[in-house]
């Protein structure tokens, strides 16, 4: 079963704009992670936020986590055409398994 549900399913923005993607989950977690997948390729880890953290930054990425609402958001600032990809949130609640959502398709128009 899928633990994380991303929202929206698809997002189209202009280069230079910010992209915000949301993820909700159902059970308690140890950490939440965001991954990126270019078409037909493997997934690339972007950022991990632990359950006791509320916000984390990495370059143009900002992730927030609200465990009371069981939700997370990924913000990509100053988007570029190269950011076009699918983005997945994944939750780890068992120290052996990562459960993924269905993903968000982000299109950044030049």
């Amino acid at each position: 079963s899928q633990q994380g549900e991303e929202d929206p399913q698809a997002l189209s923005i202009q280069e230079g704009e910010n992209a915000t993607m949301n993820c909700s989950y159902k059970t308690s977690i140890n950490n939440l992670q965001w991954y990126r997948q270019n078409s037909g390729r493997g997934l690339v880890h972007l950022i991990l936020i632990r359950s006791n953290e509320r916000e984390k930054h990495s370059g143009r990425l900002r992730v927030t986590l609200d465990t009371s609402k069981k939700s997370s958001s990924l913000l990509i600032t100053a988007s570029r055409a190269a950011d076009t990809a699918s983005y997945f949130c994944a939750t780890e609640f068992d120290n052996s398994k990562l459960t993924f959502g269905k993903g968000i398709t982000l299109s950044v128009r030049p």
């Binding site: 899928q2 992670q33 037909g40 493997g42 690339v44 632990r50 120290n95 052996s96 398994k97």
Partner: protein
């Protein structure tokens, strides 16, 4: 540095034929290893994970099996493929215990069963 190799990149197999996908990790010891499948337009479904040699946990009962004959080798197999086995198969590894850094994924195998 750690690398993960997965092959083949693409595979077209007839229904009823056997399958063997191989994944190897370099530059680390005692990794956790994972097989995921991604169907078109869907997220990743965890198929198998392994925390050590010969230790395999199955998440979804199906036509597939996995083995870990060596510390850094993970094999996905089937004796007889079904049409429903088509998909994008991804191998991944993580440090043990996981939870401090993310998973590293291979480049995937696109399997088409015809």
């Amino acid at each position: 540095s750690q690398t993960i190799h997965q092959w083949p990149a693409t595979l077209v197999q007839p229904v009823g034929s056997p399958l063997s996908l191989e994944c190897t990790v370099e530059g680390t010891s005692n990794p956790n290893l994972y097989w995921y499948r991604q169907a078109a337009g869907r997220g990743l479904q965890l198929l198998f994970y392994s925390v050590g040699i010969g230790q395999i946990s199955s998440e979804v009962p199906q036509n597939l099996s996995a083995s870990r004959p060596q510390d850094r080798q993970f094999i996905l197999s089937s004796k007889k493929l079904l049409l429903s086995d088509s998909g994008f198969y991804l191998c991944a590894w993580s440090v043990r215990p996981p939870g401090t850094v993310g998973y590293t994924f291979g480049s995937g195998t696109r399997l088409t069963v015809v």
